[in-house]
């Protein structure tokens, strides 16, 4: 796919319009100035406790996600197209989930193989026939998007379960406004700080039919040792709702309550940040202590809304991903605005042999994995790593999909050697309730290592504030 697209500079060295002012400003900064600002930003983050836990290290330690102080900028026109594409895709995903748990028209129409649904771990037979409030299943969606050219965007992944990162989007903006007020004065940056209000409105709007009066919403967290605990607490705080763990909740006479210092208080909407499997030991994993025994039954009875709905993960399954263009068209009647990355399914014989022949140039991912664990990035891996992965892949081909290595766009990033281009992706957040609410911009992740395409925070990726300029 040729040269990487540089979001600030054209091939001839001229500056792209959205970056005009920033480029001028950057030229006036010395590395010392910028380094001091980074130090300041880190001490703010550390003091506020904006950390995430890293799994698999010796101790479950808390770390800061590296924060890059150079913003990423989109022009209003660029964003409008992305926004329309996301809205279209999110609408289709919800229609798809609704269909999958009801008449399965799309399977009958032969657009998606039945096996892929019914034998998928993310498909919950317990959800069949259930219609949640407003028929919304995926209320909060993070769409991972990469850019490879001026007008060329690809959706890498849809996150329909419990996408995280929104707290970094908000705190990065806070930090930038604190560190560089003059930059904001020069640009018209679309605000994002109302995201928690939009989330609250979304949760309120999907209160179960049996809820009378003002709905009571809560955020359900696995607890302080979860990697995203900071975000759970942050969102609850910003929305002004309780942050609860499973043992704060109980069911009495068919209703869900939380234990307070006084009378129990009824709960109508749960924004849960635990996986389906842990929600209800009576229905799912019996060993789970994170959820609430019996909650699934009262969910089915329409007495509580679970956000996102159990079983919504069927829509972001990597095996389903390759069918997305057809899915969007099937439910919206239109061609998808945003591209899908061409995908080989290793479960299929022809695809597998192609993948095995081209491992060095492909990215191979686990169908059910997340967070950059257990994947192969062919072009940046050693011969030995490729050989090892080949054996793993041969053992369980159906566990993997493969995609071409995309030439991810790069943005100016402040690294040890100064300001240099680094690869980025983007996760905008869409909220789906009584209507669609999409926050301008999103969470930009940046691979801090030169040439690296892995942006995951668990693998040393950093974050950037993302600006959408207003016309």
């Amino acid at each position: 796919m040729g040269e990487n697209f540089n979001e600030m500079l054209e091939a001839d060295g001229s500056v792209r319009a959205p970056y005009a002012l920033l480029h001028k400003w950057l030229e006036k900064q010395t590395p010392g100035d910028l380094r001091a600002k980074i130090k300041e930003a880190e001490s703010i983050f550390r003091r506020l406790g904006i950390t995430f836990a890293v799994y698999g290290t010796e101790e479950a330690s808390e770390r800061l996600i590296p924060f890059d102080i150079i913003p990423r900028i989109f022009a209003a026109s660029e964003w409008r197209r992305l926004e329309a594409g996301i809205a279209q895709r999110v609408g289709a995903l919800n229609a798809f989930i609704d269909d999958i748990y009801h008449r399965q028209e799309i399977v009958r129409a032969g657009k998606v193989p039945a096996d892929l649904i019914l034998q998928n771990e993310a498909y919950l037979p317990q959800m069949a026939g259930h219609s949640p409030a407003r028929n919304v299943y995926a209320h909060i969606i993070g769409t991972d998007i990469v850019r490879v050219g001026a007008d060329e965007f690809y959706v890498l992944e849809d996150n329909c379960r419990t996408p995280s990162g929104v707290s970094y989007m908000l705190e990065d903006r806070e930090a930038m406004m604190f560190l560089f007020p003059d930059l904001f004065a020069k640009h018209r940056v679309a605000p994002i700080e109302h995201y928690p209000e939009l989330l609250r409105q979304t949760l309120d709007s999907v209160a179960p039919p049996q809820c009378e009066g003002e709905p009571t919403c809560v955020v359900l967290t696995p607890g302080i040792y979860n990697s995203a605990f900071f975000e759970h607490a942050f969102l609850a705080d910003e929305m002004g709702v309780q942050l609860v763990t499973g043992d704060d909740l109980f069911i009495d006479d068919g209703w869900l309550y939380m234990r307070t210092t006084r009378e129990p208080v009824r709960v109508d909407v749960i924004y849960r940040r635990i996986d389906d499997d842990f929600l209800d030991p009576l229905t799912f994993n019996p060993a789970s202590t994170l959820g609430v025994p019996g909650i699934f039954d009262i969910y089915r009875a329409g007495r509580v809304t679970i956000v996102n709905a159990p079983g919504a993960g069927i829509a972001d399954d990597k095996a389903i991903y390759s069918f997305m263009p057809g899915i969007v068209e099937f439910y919206t009647g239109d061609k998808p605005i945003l591209n899908n990355v061409p995908t080989w399914r290793c479960s299929e014989k022809d695809d597998l042999s192609y993948v095995l022949d081209h491992l060095e140039e492909l990215v191979v991912k686990e169908v059910h994995g997340s967070g950059g664990y257990g994947m192969l990035v062919g072009p940046t891996s050693s011969k030995k790593e490729v050989a090892t992965f080949r054996e793993v892949l041969k053992k369980r081909p159906s566990n993997y999909i493969a995609q071409p290595t995309l030439a991810l766009s790069s943005c100016p990033t402040f690294v040890k050697s100064g300001v240099a281009p680094r690869h980025v992706d983007l996760r905008p957040f869409a909220l789906c309730g009584d209507k669609m609410r999409i926050t301008p911009g999103g969470f930009t992740r940046v691979a801090m290592k030169e040439g690296s395409l892995v942006v995951n925070s668990s693998q040393g990726g950093g974050t950037k504030d993302t600006w959408v300029l207003e016309d």
Binding site: R47, L48, G49, D237, D248, T261
Partner: protein, 316 residues
């Protein structure tokens, strides 16, 4: 509306913070005594008694044979396996705070979090005896910052009252324990001035609750009188670490909760009884009927109060 778990976390957050500060004071005093010339510490096992005052005999004896200065400091300051070490207290205070961040002001949270960030990376070899006084001072300052942030920024509502209950139940327990461990030096021994060693012991006792200067202002006697020392730490309502002061604060917190919730709970009856007993007591009667017995009863009652509060307000 307050979750039972949140109330519990607020209670323990403040309680562990208070405990960390008390532990710092206790070590500070022992360290001071260890610097004094021999006669003043000849016939006592200072560091052993520090372990007892800190209520850490069980964990200490499981690990060490001798109560050397090094062992005791190691165990009481940075030992992760001692739930009452300064490090453990700070970690628990911070984890409790972290679990209920939504109920804390930003200032309170930052005071907890910065302390833990600095403390968590401290290694025991960085804490030689020349560094110890500065470190203990820092711990006290961090605790005071936390207290100041709480008093200055927390809304006066149930969440605040639970943190105050935790802090003052811990403080009352700490003062009573220190008195009980040292009660023999407070017993009246007939007329005449105390020996130099006695005086030094009384001064240390006062110092361990930051009260040696205050004592001078409250009691104008030129040397320490043991019954005055006991009176000061138990019955003087002006002394912020005295038993009566703590119970006055506890009673007020429970009264405020009662008003806010519009219902009373059994623990309050107990707390009020304790307060009345302290208000109507005089040292002479207490010595008559036994200082140790009085303090033991007090410590038991104080523990029962914690369980009653936990039960009444649905702590998990």
């Amino acid at each position: 509306m307050l979750l039972g778990r949140t109330a519990s976390s607020l209670f323990w957050m403040a309680r562990y913070m208070e405990r960390a500060e008390n532990m710092a004071r206790l070590i500070e005093v022992s360290y001071r005594i260890s610097l004094m010339p021999k006669p003043f510490r000849a016939h006592q096992e200072d560091w052993r008694s520090t372990v007892i005052s800190a209520h850490c005999e069980a964990t200490f004896d499981a690990k060490y044979d001798t109560a050397s200065q090094e062992n005791v400091i190691q165990h009481l300051v940075l030992d992760r396996n001692n739930p009452s070490s300064i490090r453990s207290c700070m970690e628990r205070a911070r984890n409790n705070g972290r679990a209920v961040r939504t109920a804390l002001s930003r200032d309170i949270w930052e005071s907890l979090n910065s302390t833990w960030n600095d403390l968590s990376v401290l290694k025991s070899n960085q804490l030689g005896s020349d560094k110890l006084p500065g470190f203990l001072d820092w711990i006290k300052q961090r605790s005071m910052l936390f207290r100041g942030a709480t008093l200055g920024t927390a809304l006066r509502q149930d969440s605040f009252h639970f943190s105050q209950l935790g802090a003052f139940i811990e403080r009352a327990d700490n003062t009573a324990r220190i008195l009980d461990v040292k009660y023999h030096i407070l017993l009246p021994r007939g007329a005449g001035p105390g020996s130099a060693i006695d005086v030094q012991q009384w001064a240390s006792l006062l110092r361990s609750v930051s009260a040696h200067r205050a004592y001078r202002w409250a009691y104008r006697d030129a040397s320490y009188q043991p019954w005055n020392v006991a009176q000061f730490l138990m019955l003087n309502p002006a002394m912020p670490r005295s038993l009566i002061f703590c119970y006055d604060w506890i009673d007020r917190s429970l009264t405020d909760l009662e008003k806010e919730y519009n219902e009373s709970m059994p623990g309050h009856v107990r707390a009020r009884k304790t307060l009345e007993r302290l208000s109507s007591a005089n040292m002479e009667d207490i010595f008559q009927s036994g200082l140790h017995e009085f303090l033991s009863d007090f410590i038991d009652d104080n523990n029962i109060l914690t369980s009653e509060i936990a039960a009444s307000y649905n702590f998990p």
